[in-house]
Symmetry: C2
């Protein structure tokens, strides 16, 4: 049966930090699934930093880029059944119809909350895991620095590094988040970069240098980390949130790159497509860590699709802790 | 017999571009080779950009860091005979005595001028070769950009890339050097970065993007190249001459690093110790290329050890073409 839905559309090109008025909620009707199609009700929309640069490129009057975890409500598609949990590239809306492209079924472990498949066992966790192990070539016992360490990706990265026996330094933007890092996630040293300049703090907190810097920030954080890198250090670059709110993705200036020469440092940008061969191992390992409590997480949940712009702005402002999500369907 | 020698010493810490008054010529006497030692007469001193950052660190009243090609005058060392040609880490002086550490014998091909073992078949050529092939993972037919393309390293890099069938863009600082690049070294597009901003020039000269940027400059060149990098592009960083004359090796600001994320670009600093396994193959291949004319070179030669400061300053100022050397012993 055709169903009422709501979508959030981008209606004005943001300059700098997005504003609520850059978005509007649009009421739509989603048709029945046709032959070879599914109709999905989203449960949780994922709110990700990577959406921000895409707001500068996407067409206006369409939903922002984003993933969502949903439930198949109707299926006339051979690979999907009603009730299946699916991950789709159809965020910022309540319902959608798809021919299956961009949608994958989640074999959710019933002993875990389904929402973890949007973060710790989902894309955020996977980029942290593969970024550290495959791109960063993390070795047991190394010195590791993670920026946005209390975010969805960073909070998994610091825990994976701790599970590998590393000394882990995490930076974040509040004392509350620092406490979460040290008290619950067992990070060795937390830096509140809003209280102490990151360059000064790293000198103190990384006395044995840095072997792997998992970079989510770029700009001043990268500038401060480069002179601290040890020989043959690696910098997997997952994101550069410092550049996301600027025109042309310009970051704060980095002037310390010459440090990479004699120390033979590698800086490498990556996306999770670079290590899909790790996906099954990651899923098994992370599900186990969540079940035995080795990996912890927090969720910052906004209620209702209409709160998506506030969720995105809150996440980009550094107000949130852990994974930012929007609960779309009540009671799940 | 003890022999008179002269050395160039650093006597004042340079700020910015070194000045002649930062150096002085010191007369010394070099003793006979003792048991297990050699006495060497330098023929050519190598003048390299990498000496500049070391001037900020080395002790005063000692010679700058640098290599030299010399001839063994006395040997009481089992691995060396009188008349051997050796490469030693004893530049900026006429003669020296060594126990053999930091000195290696050169099996010079008699049909080549001996000076090529200080550049095309020496360290400059080897970092170009290994930097492109091993660190840059250069593939046949790729789009390649080389900065300081008319220098000792760059001029070999552009020719190695041409020999691999690549489209090659080179940047340098004068029209004369641009003509050498296009007319003699067969570079596809030469950029005089002093005439046109490098960012503007690259947009025009790299219509198909850049797969490998062989970086000798950093700063504005790296900033301009990053937005032009193709997916999975590589940036081997051999040097950052833009940072060498500044305190703390600070380069001109780079603000375009976020381009590495979605294009999954790798930036990697290296030294030639990273690919010593290629040394024999390189020597054989490069000797062949020099003999059959596939690789060309130029030398900017200063006469006499006392001209070493002028040679270093000339090279750092971009006045020279090809390899900068100082001829130490007359008639060779």
């Amino acid at each position: 049966m055709p169903a009422a839905s709501r979508e959030v559309h981008l209606i004005a090109r943001p300059e700098g930090m997005p504003k609520p008025s850059d978005f509007e909620v649009v009421e739509t009707t989603v048709p029945d699934a046709g032959e070879g199609e599914i109709q999905v009700l989203n449960l949780y929309n994922s709110i990700d930093p990577a959406t921000r640069p895409r707001l500068s490129l996407q067409p206006l009057a369409t939903p922002p880029w984003g993933f969502a975890l949903g439930r198949v409500e109707q299926s006339r598609h051979p690979d999907h059944r009603e009730g299946d949990i699916v991950l789709g590239m159809y965020g910022y809306r309540e319902r959608y119809v798809s021919d299956g492209r961009g949608v994958s079924r989640i074999a959710a472990d019933p002993s875990l909350p389904v929402s973890v498949y949007l973060h710790a066992v989902g894309g955020s966790g996977f980029v942290a895991y593969g970024g550290l192990l495959e791109i960063g070539k993390l070795q047991k016992g190394e010195q590791v620095f993670v920026s946005t360490a209390a975010g969805a990706v960073g909070s998994i990265a610091v825990q994976v590094a701790k599970l590998r026996g590393c000394y882990v330094i995490g930076s974040t933007g509040s004392e509350e988040k620092c406490r979460w890092l040290t008290d619950e996630l067992r990070v060795d040293a937390a830096i509140n970069y809003k209280a102490v300049p990151i360059r000064t703090a790293l000198k103190e907190k990384a006395p044995n240098g840095i072997d792997v810097y998992f970079d989510n920030v770029g700009g001043d954080h990268l500038d401060a980390a480069l002179p601290r890198m040890n020989p043959l250090g690696r910098i997997p670059v997952c994101g550069m949130i410092s550049a996301y709110n600027s025109a042309g993705a310009i970051s704060a200036p980095v002037t310390t790159l010459s440090n990479i020469i004699y120390n033979r440092v590698t800086i490498r940008g990556f996306v999770s497509a670079d290590f899909m061969h790790l996906r099954d191992r990651f899923t098994t390992e992370m599900e186990g860590w969540l079940k035995d409590g080795s990996v912890k997480y927090r969720e910052t949940i906004y209620e209702g699709i209409e709160s998506s712009p506030a969720a995105l702005i809150g996440m980009l402002s550094g107000e949130n802790i852990g994974k930012t999500m929007v609960r779309v369907a009540a009671g799940v």
